[in-house]
């Protein structure tokens, strides 16, 4: 039996890819090494965080799954950066990992058009330069119109603990040994990265009285735009610190750390260094934080955020026991490092289809990223685009100026990766506009256009947008007279009294004034408005100056994104380009003039020259 879309792997990328494609009505097959391990979280038991939360909200706004499953399985949720501005606030949820797997598997199994099947893919079937299916190690072949590779850390995966190393995709899981060779044979350039995870300990052996408790938020929240916000029952996390004893043990045994022993030579993520590296690189720091987070409700395993290491297990145990509260903690599973193949992501288009083999897509850690959210975002984009292409529809291409997903993909395609890529808010140059709170307003139109967001849902967003505009106009129109009564109210609010009439809109621009304080002045009741609308209005008015600056910056550069560069361009034949530019452009093969302009070493003059040479040949869309 033939399929439309075959997804290889059922991690966070694979699940989003498969669900998007199946929900768009395409016959979708998911092949994965072990169907007991769907959407498994091999590292931290949480979803969201700075930059990542924006990704999850965006996936959700266009019709993806992650936020919904998160809502269903979270055991703590909070807003990070609550004291800062809206652009850098983020949601983070602690997740019951097992529940998450079960829930995601349930969703996959109950999605129409979606078939789940165990099997290790070892080759891509290619005909006339296009993928037409896959073969698995048992010898079975599956035909498909598109193939999406989301194999995470499994390609030639090699686990390292202390001086031991062995092939594995993750601890206790088979690696995928043969697929890499097949990909290289097809012409893909491959490189290797590594990542690592801390040990887990038995909750009953932790002395929590010596740690600080960390609570979740007690206000109504929701990761998904499409679920009701609610107050969640929350489980506590705990905070403790390493100390000089810890650092001494590490220093004494540093020869056995992979950073010294030479067991691992590949680049790992700078944002997740091992405790070994932290101690070596920052000797002046007397302590490092260790967050103790539950892996779930029904398990005693506790995750030790901050103690990542792949030292020998005996030393791991010693390190742990130096930490306050963990003096008697017993390891259930040790920390380890894993080294794996990824493909150089500049071999992809904005749709995540490869430039080398048509109808072959890549998403997730295989593209050199790290993190569940980054993986899910790519999986979603690959799944949607594989489906759209089969349906002969325009692709869904997100850009730096409309989303973090756009930033993520553009960075992957344009930059030289030196380490596994993680999202940060600082990577998004337009982050004041690309906020977690307005992802639905920014993006649900795309979801509705392709058919993953229902008209019903979309209408709600449009309606809300209108209400926001209406309220802003109203605040602009209503003004406050400088009479005694009003000034008393103002002073109560902690803001300066007025001596000439002032619009409520201007009043709201004062840093110390909140929207809920001023609604009454319009003659309206605060309760008439949805919390979310009030918040949007407040953000739009308070930060208007900055927001408008970014919007006009976006507009200025927008035109370049509209020029698509065809794949068959021979840059060496373009007169006037420097040799360096010719080389770089040939290597990266940018999709748009905008992307070309972001390649390091490409000057404005090069862009002008491209524009001049390609006038008439540049297309407004692929």
């Amino acid at each position: 039996m033939d399929y439309d879309v075959i997804v290889v792997g059922a991690g966070h990328a694979g699940c989003e890819a498969a669900l998007a494609s199946a929900r768009l009505g395409l016959k979708t097959l998911v092949l994965t090494i072990n169907v007991d391990k769907i959407a498994l979280m091999p590292c931290n038991p949480s979803i969201g965080g700075l930059g990542k939360s924006q990704l999850v909200r965006e996936i959700d706004a266009i019709g993806g799954q992650m936020a919904k499953t998160t809502n269903k399985t979270l055991i703590q949720i909070k807003i990070l950066n609550i004291r800062k501005g809206p652009a850098v606030q983020a949601l983070r949820a602690q997740i019951d990992k097992k529940e998450y797997e079960i829930e995601m598997k349930r969703v996959l199994e109950n999605t129409k058009n979606l078939t789940l099947r165990q099997g290790t893919v070892d080759k891509i079937l290619v005909k006339d330069g296009a993928a037409v299916g896959v073969g698995i190690e048992s010898g079975l072949l599956f035909g498909g119109k598109a193939v999406i590779i989301t194999t995470g850390t499994f390609l030639r995966g090699r686990i390292i603990i202390g001086e031991k190393d062995y092939p594995a995709g993750r601890m206790g899981e088979y690696p995928a040994i043969n697929l890499t060779k097949n990909l290289i044979g097809l012409g893909f350039k491959i490189n290797r990265f590594q990542t690592a995870t801390p040990p887990r300990v038995d909750k009953r052996t932790v002395n929590f009285s010596k740690t600080e408790v960390q609570y979740g938020d007690k206000q109504p929240l929701s990761f998904s735009f499409w679920d009701e916000e609610k107050i969640y029952q929350s489980i506590e996390c705990h905070l403790t610190y390493t100390n000089e004893k810890t650092h001494k043990i590490i220093a004494e045994n540093i020869e056995q750390s992979p950073i010294k022993s030479g067991m691992v030579n590949t680049h790992g993520p700078r944002h997740c260094p091992s405790i070994d590296r932290k101690v070596i690189n920052f000797p002046e720091k007397k302590r490092h934080p260790v967050f103790i987070e539950p892996e779930g409700t029904y398990t005693n395993e506790m995750y030790l955020q901050g103690l990542t290491t792949s030292m020998p297990v005996i030393i791991q145990q010693k390190i742990i026991n130096t930490v306050e509260g963990l003096e008697n903690a017993r390891i259930i599973r040790p920390g380890y490092a894993v080294e794996y193949d990824y493909i150089i992501p500049s071999q992809l288009n904005f749709t995540l289809e490869s430039k080398i083999i048509e109808n072959l897509y890549f998403a997730g850690q295989i593209n050199g990223t790290s993190g569940y959210e980054e993986a899910a975002a790519q999986g979603f984009i690959a799944g949607v685009n594989a489906a759209l292409k089969i349906m002969n529809e325009q692709p869904l291409i997100l850009t730096r100026d409309n989303s973090y997903i756009g930033v993520l993909i553009d960075d992957l395609l344009t930059k030289d990766l030196m380490e596994p890529y993680r999202m940060y808010t600082s990577r998004a140059e337009y982050r004041l506009v690309l906020r977690s709170d307005n992802a639905d307003i920014r993006l649900s139109k795309f979801g509705n256009d392709i058919g993953l967001i229902t008209n019903e849902q979309y209408k709600r967003v449009v309606k809300r947008e209108k209400e926001i505009d209406r309220l802003i106009s109203k605040l602009k129109a209503s003004s406050l007279n400088p009479d005694r009564g009003n000034n008393i109210i103002l002073e109560k609010m902690g803001t300066k009294p007025i001596d000439t009439p002032l619009s409520i809109y201007k009043l709201l621009k004062r840093p110390e004034v909140n929207i809920s304080d001023v609604i009454d002045f319009t003659g309206d009741k605060r309760d008439n408005y949805d919390r979310i609308i009030l918040k949007q209005v407040e953000i739009k008015i308070k930060y208007e100056g900055y927001i408008n600056r970014q919007l006009s910056e976006i507009k200025k550069l927008e035109s370049l994104e509209k020029y698509y560069l065809t794949r068959d361009l021979n840059y060496f034949k373009i007169v006037g380009l420097t040799y360096e530019a010719q080389e770089k452009l040939t290597k990266i093969k940018p999709n748009t003039l905008g992307q070309a302009s972001r390649i390091a070493g490409i000057s404005p003059a090069d862009i002008s020259i491209l524009m001049l040479n390609l006038k008439g040949k540049l297309k407004a869309r692929i």
Binding site: R83, V88, F282, F291, G306, G576, K615
Partner: protein, 462 residues
């Protein structure tokens, strides 16, 4: 910057056949509006009120109502113009400084400095010229850009460049703190308190202002090439200046030490504006006033791109001459042996030890001998094998100045946001933009600097 093809652009053009800089050209939707803002015609007519291909005579007036220059303005409405956009040409008369000022006024009123070849690029993109013609443009864009970069680098004198680099680094340091506190809140990092950072921003701003005002005094980048005439007293420096500028400006006298202060003269040597400075003669002096003059002349030597050393051919070589020569060791210099009309007593072999024969020229400032040759030599030296393009140079100078001004206002905005206790991402946006702009002046890319620095400076990682 540099890749958008929108907006109204401005550039200084050269009148064909004449070397002197003279035309400020505007192209784009707002050219007429901008020109009307700064131009007062004699006839009280506005450009917006006249027909295409008509001219108006009048004056360019700055914001304070001062007259900058007497001009003739020509209007070419779209689509019948070179770029197929509204084009305004302002023909200036007051020489390079006035012309530059006119361009700056256009920028203040909303125009953007054109990129190299941008007029032609627009002409091409708007369908005014065809591909074969455009190929010439491509060459132009490439060569001009490369040339601009070279000149830009050259114009940023070592210490100014260092200064900008330092300010950029200071901004980065603040940014790293702001960004770390945003993206890595849970990392137990020691972030510098907001108040301290605000103070830092204020300091950076103050230094930036200083840099800009320095630049106004002409110490960073001069429009034109600065050359200092130096030499002992009475060797004929003032006479040489007068001869070159063909005006009686410096006081010519035979009493040693009369040229107390430096006299500046802008003159065109083969179309290149040369800011010629006649310095007080260097000689051992006890008089306080003269001492100031001598100090100044040392300062002028440092600032000058070119030095004209004048020696008196009539006199013997003295220790004083040697001292002067030592002061200009690292400078581009021409050695002028003056007073060749008199008996020659100077020991030429001693001179040849310090100067290449090519740069020794015999002249008489009194009789006008050898002046033509001197002018040619000056030209060759400052053009560095002919690749100096003055138009470009002015544009780059103004571009720098604009960027510095923009940076300064961004610093203001950041400081204000921080004072109002706005969240870090707002001042950070101002500072990031400023940081990128300074990188642009220095020709450096700045993409991942902040994250890189955060990782190297802080212990990140949970």
């Amino acid at each position: 910057m540099g890749i958008e093809s929108t907006g109204t652009i401005v550039a200084i053009g050269t009148r064909p056949g004449e070397a002197a800089i003279g035309i400020v050209k505007l192209s784009g939707d707002r050219s007429i509006f901008i020109a009307d803002k700064i131009f007062r015609s004699k006839s009280k007519k506005k450009l917006s009120g006249i027909d295409t291909y008509n001219m108006l005579y009048g004056h360019i007036i700055d914001n304070d109502g001062h007259t900058i220059d007497e001009v003739v303005v020509t209007l070419m409405k779209k689509p019948k113009s070179y770029t197929k956009e509204d084009v305004v040409e302002i023909n200036c008369h007051g020489g390079i400084i006035a012309t530059t000022k006119v361009m700056e006024l256009c920028i203040e009123s909303g125009a953007r400095i054109a990129d190299p070849g941008e007029f032609t690029k627009r002409a091409f993109l708007n369908g005014r010229i065809d591909l074969s013609q455009a190929e010439a443009v491509i060459d132009l864009v490439r060569s001009k850009t490369e040339q601009s970069l070279k000149i830009a680098a050259k114009n940023l004198q070592g210490n100014v460049k260092k200064e900008i680099k330092r300010l950029k680094e200071m901004i980065l340091n603040v940014l790293v703190q702001l960004e770390a506190s945003v993206d890595f809140i849970e990392e137990d990092l020691e972030i510098t308190p907001y108040q301290k950072l605000t103070k830092k921003v204020r300091e950076i701003k103050a230094e930036m202002e200083e840099l800009i005002s320095d630049e106004k005094k002409g110490e960073i980048i001069k429009n034109g090439v600065k050359a200092a005439i130096i030499g002992k007293t009475n060797v004929g420096k003032s006479s040489l200046l007068n001869l070159l500028s063909k005006k009686e400006k410096a006081i010519v006298t035979s009493i040693p030490g009369t040229t107390r202060d430096a006299v500046e003269e802008i003159l065109y040597v083969e179309g290149i504006p040369l800011i010629l400075v006649d310095t007080a003669g260097i000689r051992k002096t006890k008089s306080a006033i003269e001492k100031i003059g001598v100090d100044r002349s040392l300062k002028h030597i440092n600032e000058a791109e070119l030095v004209l050393l004048v020696l008196d051919g009539n006199r013997k070589f003295e220790k004083m001459d040697l001292e002067i020569i030592k002061k200009i060791e690292r400078k581009k210099a021409i050695c002028c042996i003056n007073k060749v009309d008199l008996k020659q007593n100077l020991e030429m072999e001693r001179i040849r030890k310090y100067f290449n024969e090519k740069f020794i020229i015999k002249i008489s400032a009194l009789k006008g001998i050898g002046i033509r040759k001197l002018e040619n030599k000056i030209k060759a030296l400052i053009m560095d094998n002919g690749d100096l393009n003055l138009e470009e140079k002015i544009i780059i100078n103004s571009r720098h100045k604009n960027i510095l001004k923009e940076v300064s206002s961004l610093l203001d905005s950041a400081e204000k946001a921080m004072k109002e206790k706005m969240s870090e991402e707002f001042p950070s946006y101002d500072l990031k933009t400023a940081y990128g702009l300074l990188g642009e002046i220095l020709g450096e890319t700045t993409r991942d600097d902040i994250l890189d620095k955060i990782f190297s400076q802080f212990c990140i990682g949970k």
